[in-house]
Subunit: 297 residues, 4 copies
């Protein structure tokens, strides 16, 4: 019974790349957080301490900056595909590369239709994401968003659930439903317009969250995911992860006050955590199994 | 030489109060984080362990919820004034009360002019704040915002500064200027329209940040503060605190690439921290000195 | 081409359970953060909004508290196994349950050998963890730690690495090596003494980190993992995840000062991220693939 | 009625300075987070954009690193005094300087009495702090700690408090008392042994927290502060800030279980916040009023 090296990977995490396009008077900024992870022939680095096959993570950082200059950052999916393909094609020991990008959104200061040419304010809380995996000639693009905080103050119930000896929760016919949504959708093929696809998916998720009468967060997520697959033929599957941010009705009776669904305590922890995948029945393989850095252990 | 009790205060921090107004089909939500702090005749609680004068922080929490029901939350300044006046007027040992409120902003899901009646998405990153202090018959209202993240990619320089033996920084005639602004302005008198005043101050700060050609963050802050005092006659002073979020130009020359102000590394730490007050020369007293909880030690 | 529900799971995350054993004058505390996740027959909850099969996450929270009373918390592995087996055995629709526990460590105030009977101070930064998965009659126990921050100021080099056109890093024959270690090891069988096993693994990891002359973080991790498998026959595999917390030598030459490995800038981001698994060649199956909540999307 | 520049200050925040002493085989590390703030003749920088008087924050960072080399870091108080005196003495426009330092503690890996010469593990959660203010020839040293997390599972009550119409809390004769302590003490004169003083104050605080039968957190803080002044003649005053980290007894009666002070829910928010100063009646002036960066707005 021997001891062997199992799955391993390494990379540079959270390189903060900001690119300014300033060819004319109206500037454009792309504000990214870039992480690259490589898999391949790295056993000697572990077992023998031999680094001959190891491209330093410092070099990966440099490459992230260089690619932000040339070819630049059209959309984060293009940029991540370029980086990942470079690592697989040009660095001999690398068999698989994953590039993850978070993009922070900025609005122009001023009127929506007459914004400032070079002054910006961070918009929204959500972050646009992509995770691109390249292995040999194949590539998988999983784009998404995280931190989309939504709430509805009507149109949500939770009733008729399974009860056991530890159940004290009562049926709720009218409650606040709130979450900070994370979504990730895998493209079956490259989108013709990555930014347009992002906007359409985001708007579809919001529209369904708002308008589905929710009998549970599970149902809302299913309807949201299904709608995305219906409007985007190029999406093979979508995963949704939604903490149920509980809002508890405060008992004001001791103070002689009624509380007909008006005053709530917003709790931090614990929270429900509801997660599901909605996919086409011919979705095809999702690419190599890949632990996120957070999940590696 | 005796040992005595010095300044002391206590309260309930970070009560998360959510109020839904649902009188008609179109709901309104107010999403607050409320902290109250009391000063007064509390020596016995410390020195003798006698709690007879101590209103429990749990009661302060309850009061925050009850006041969210009645009289409700018109604007956070009204709500905080009501709470602070209650503690001073109705709780015998309390001589001074401070109520601090953070408000999280929500947009309606959907079109700006046709938003959903009861579904919302968190907007922006900045948080609207107020800190109300009541002592006897007097009240001071200091409202503000925190986390307003702004960046300009042109119109900023930093040159002609003092040099000593530890100076290696070069003059910069064109740099990125970025900050996460915190501002707090003291009202000389109650605003006729707290929400309108907030919006006007915020827009004035953004406009000046965008349009002042900045020879240093100090100058931008001064111009921003001065403009607020010019447009708001009811503001006696404004304090501005701005971390200088450095964006360093990446040296791409080793890779054969020019970098004419295009690719930057956004650094986390250290950061410059520029802080100033702009005030009227007859601003009047700012109220009792009051350590924020964060600054008490 | 239809649209179908894919993998899904739900549960209660981050229930903060504190148990005090106070049978005698000397108290013992167990301070936990508990998350449970269930998989099974929950399609109707999504597709039809029918909650008849759904055990509320509120009930899962209640169960976490009840089990902290009876049978109590001997070790977190026992507690998690009890909870997970209950969900699978007693809740019809549940096919698989995962219970993750973080435990925060406390020392007694006072002398190590004569500590206080009921007063405690939080010790260390690291958190002891376990993730228990139960499916039918089978159970997998993966215990670990996170946030073990270590540094060595000698005995670390990084040289002879692969160079390409984007490489600017120089060979380092003497550098600071620092990381915040996360480790997770899967038991091949239940440990006779979970706490003793934890202590032995932790000490083995620390000893190897300290005493292996490191030619790269990869090599340190391999040696650390290998040593754990050598001393613990009951461990089938161990996964290690280590951010390389870079310490950059500061250039003091402009100030007329030498810097022979003495003054460093500790950087936050970006960081290298090195991850590997060390396993027995007959390690056996690792249990059902299971996305962590963080990795679900 | 004119608009004028009021109080202002600027500096470099959170420079992460690590110093390794490696003169012999046994290394010593000092791991600091350094912030400097300057006040003086900086009106022109604001009003006219003239930076001639402004020492760049980048230079302040450089100086922090240079002083870590020469004269080095004996104790953080010495280091901060040296930096602050330099800014006031050598930089013309500077009238007052404040240097704040956080120090992270490391233990040697291995046996307490036979630790490793150059391998370390981060110890504890608390951070040692100092805030040194220099104005002209005067200096004030306020040292402290933050993040000292303590809990007692007996010897704490809260009863006989003031009740009003919003009070629902019941008297508690036996409860968990837990806090994350921040303390800051001002030296009347330089300590002969800064590190020894720190250790003695920390141990005194812990001993009193543990052994005072607490009728309220206020009483515990008073007794803790008083004891520090009794054992340290060189301390003029001490400020204590203590969030009351509530542990709520869980109602297990619905599950047929008693809960005699055994199973608790540890709540995050809201929390009580108790703050007091204990001082000598001839404590003397505390130095110039100085807003912490956090409290500036």
């Amino acid at each position: 019974m021997g001891i062997v090296l199992g799955p391993n990977q390494y990379g540079k995490a959270e390189t903060r790349v900001v690119r300014v396009y300033r060819d004319g008077p109206v500037h454009v900024i792309r504000d990214l957080n870039v992480s690259s992870t490589l898999r391949g022939d790295f056993a000697a680095a572990h077992v023998d301490g031999d680094q001959a096959n190891v491209l330093p993570t410092d070099t990966q950082k440099n490459t992230s900056y260089a690619f932000a200059s040339e070819p630049g950052i059209a959309e984060i999916e293009d940029y991540a595909l370029g980086l990942a393909r470079h690592f697989v094609a040009d660095i001999g020991p690398v068999q698989t590369a994953r590039v993850q990008v978070e993009e922070y959104q900025w609005d122009r200061i001023g009127a929506p239709d007459a914004g400032h040419p070079h002054a910006f304010v961070r918009s929204g809380q959500e972050v646009r994401t992509t995770a691109v995996t390249v292995q040999g000639d194949q590539a998988w693009v999983v784009s998404g968003l995280t931190g989309l905080v939504v709430l509805k103050s009507a149109g949500s119930e939770f009733a008729g659930f399974l009860r056991d000896e530890y159940t004290t929760l009562q049926d709720a016919s009218d409650r606040i439903l709130a979450t900070s949504l994370t979504a990730a959708w895998r493209y079956a093929e490259p989108a013709a317009d990555w930014a347009g696809a992002y906007t359409e998916v985001r708007e579809t998720l919001l529209e369904r969250f708002a308008n589905v009468h929710s009998r549970a967060l599970q149902q809302s997520l299913w309807e949201m995911g299904k709608a995305v697959l219906e409007v985007r033929r190029d999406v093979a599957e979508i995963r949704l992860s939604a903490p149920n941010r509980h809002h508890f009705l405060v008992d004001l009776a001791p103070f002689g006050l009624a509380n007909p669904g008006e005053v709530f305590h917003a709790a931090d922890r614990p929270y429900g955590l509801i997660q599901c995948t909605v996919q086409r029945d011919d979705a095809g393989p999702a690419g190599p199994a890949w632990d996120s850095p957070a999940a590696f252990c």
